[in-house]
């Protein structure tokens, strides 16, 4: 029996759906066990539920979205959120700390036609989520691992520890200690494979907070590297600005 898989889109850039398409080589191997029946980025034909696995990209930003995610949840046995928008509200959650009316009036000629919520929120704020894949965009490896694990009936290998664990496992030298490069790695969830530090760049947190982030302590290390607090606040107000742990940290800093 093949698993019926659906991919849904909410407020997002479609980059995570592209990551699904980018996994084509790996997905070819799995196509005997899954049937992708709903995937707006890839096909026009749409099939109704129920679905065995539903992947949800994007955040909830309109009253229509808020109603639609509840319908989707009812249709999916396993609901998997994919990407920073679906897991924490995305970059568009910057509005959560501002007045969306001012944003809309600066972007749109006729903001009165918009029917938008004051906040951009994660899918888990609205319905129960079974598995979450983080990142902007998601990691292709984690995506394939998750589909593989769900089909095989095992627990997917999705860590919640900080990026530092991945840096050290692969033998990447700490950019913060060795070069004073500001890095969010100690407070950010692993899963990307520590890509940015491996290119001598600091982590900018697209996977969002790790399981027990201590941002207040990291702020001291950034101070020590001579980085202004405003830079740290900007870094925390990135793609996962909607994550409660980062919002709290920004308020406290």
């Amino acid at each position: 029996m093949t698993a019926r898989v659906a991919v849904f889109k909410f407020a997002s850039c479609d980059g995570c759906q592209l990551s699904v398409l980018d996994a084509e080589d790996e997905l070819l191997a799995i196509l005997g066990t899954i049937d992708i029946v709903e995937f707006p980025e890839a096909r026009t034909l749409r099939e109704p539920g129920p679905y065995d696995i539903g992947f949800v990209e994007g955040s909830v930003t309109t009253p229509h979205d808020a109603a639609r995610i509840k319908e989707i949840r009812e249709q999916c046995k396993v609901l998997v959120t994919i990407g920073a928008c679906a897991t924490s509200g995305g970059i568009q959650a910057l509005r959560n700390m501002a007045d969306v009316g001012i944003y809309a009036s600066q972007v749109y000629a006729h903001p009165e036609y918009l029917d938008t919520l004051a906040t951009s929120t994660a899918i888990a704020d609205h319905v129960k989520v079974d598995l979450a894949l983080y990142g902007c965009p998601v990691s292709k490896e984690q995506l394939v691992e998750t589909i593989t694990a769900v089909v095989a009936g095992r627990r997917p290998d999705l860590p919640s520890h900080p990026v530092c664990v991945e840096c050290k496992a692969r033998g990447t030298v700490c950019v913060l200690v060795a070069n004073g490069t500001p890095c969010l790695g100690p407070v950010v969830r692993a899963g990307c494979g520590a890509i940015c530090p491996s290119y001598a760049r600091g982590c900018y947190g697209c996977f969002g907070p790790c399981s027990t982030p201590n941002v207040a302590s990291l702020a001291g290390a950034w101070d020590g590297a001579g980085v202004p607090r405003s830079t740290l606040i900007r870094a925390l107000k990135g793609f996962t600005v909607g994550a409660p742990e980062f919002q709290e940290a920004v308020r406290a800093l």
Binding site: G32, A152, V165, K168, A169, V177, C183, T212, S217, A221
Partner: protein
Amino acid sequence: MDRRLLTPEGVRSLLAMLREDGFRIVAPSLVGGTVSLAEISDLDELAVGLALEVAPGRTRVVPSPAMFGSIGGPESLKRWQHPSQRVIWHGERGKNGFTGSAVVEESAGPVAFFGLRACDLAGARVLAKAIRRPLGEQDLVISVRCTSSAPTCFCTTMGTGPDVPEAAADLILTEVLEPKPRFVATAASERGAALLGRAASKPASAADAAAADALVAKVAADMPVAFAPEAARAALGTPSGIGWEDIGARCMACGNCTAVCPTCFCTTVVDRTDPAATVADRIMRWDSCYTPWFSEMHGGSVRSSISARYRQWVSHKMSWWWEQFGTAGCVGCGRCIVWCPVGIDIRKEVEAAIERSTAHV
């Protein structure tokens, strides 16, 4: 044993010979903006004349008058003795059902480790006892004794250095800079003697040998004793929840200390399958007592607070390790201090724990 004198070129020629003999060379190298042990493919990759300026949570590469002056790089022998990830079991689904077997590691060839310090070798011994995996019999160890120390060093506190016991290495070098750079070499094994015999060397005079020993003795004498290990063992042997709030506020539970620690050996095991569901691998990976799932049981993590996780780590290193393996789990290399992004100093935390325990008596 006989002590010989090598020129800096003579030391290079030793490494060149080892390469010709088919050894992989692991030696101090400039990697990622620091000097660290790394496998080098060319002798030009050796970090020569570079040292690390080291402080808690900070390193910078600086020029050094010594050929091999760097101390405190992130990598220890653990990287080679206990790799961060390896497949320990492999299974395949075939026509006749599912078959699986343990994966026997294939050696990538003998390794010559060059430039190891006394703490590196102590770390390898402690780790070998914990995971029952010594270095390979064909591997060769060339140690360079410390003639300087970093402010994060505390090997004299833990009784592991800076002198190198002859049983720990095949060849022991001591770099003497004045009046001109040279190395006093002691062959500590038959293989070390054979290797040294092939290099151009001359007998070291008594004065040369004394100069080398004096440099190492000075490092030992100048290094402050951080705490009494017996007092640490006693203080941390009785779990107490009092006084750990402060470290819980500073520690990020990022796991960097356990990763760079030459003796931290904890692992986790995960199962992976391929998308076609025909192949399964069981993978063993480094884990850290700082991850919440390390102590996850039914109902959640036993050590949900960061302070509880720090207490677990330092208590194991300094106290419970004795009951488990007969030594301390810490060799005083100071890597956990250097590579902690917020510069938490285990010496100060242990000292504070000792003070608390005496205050409560």
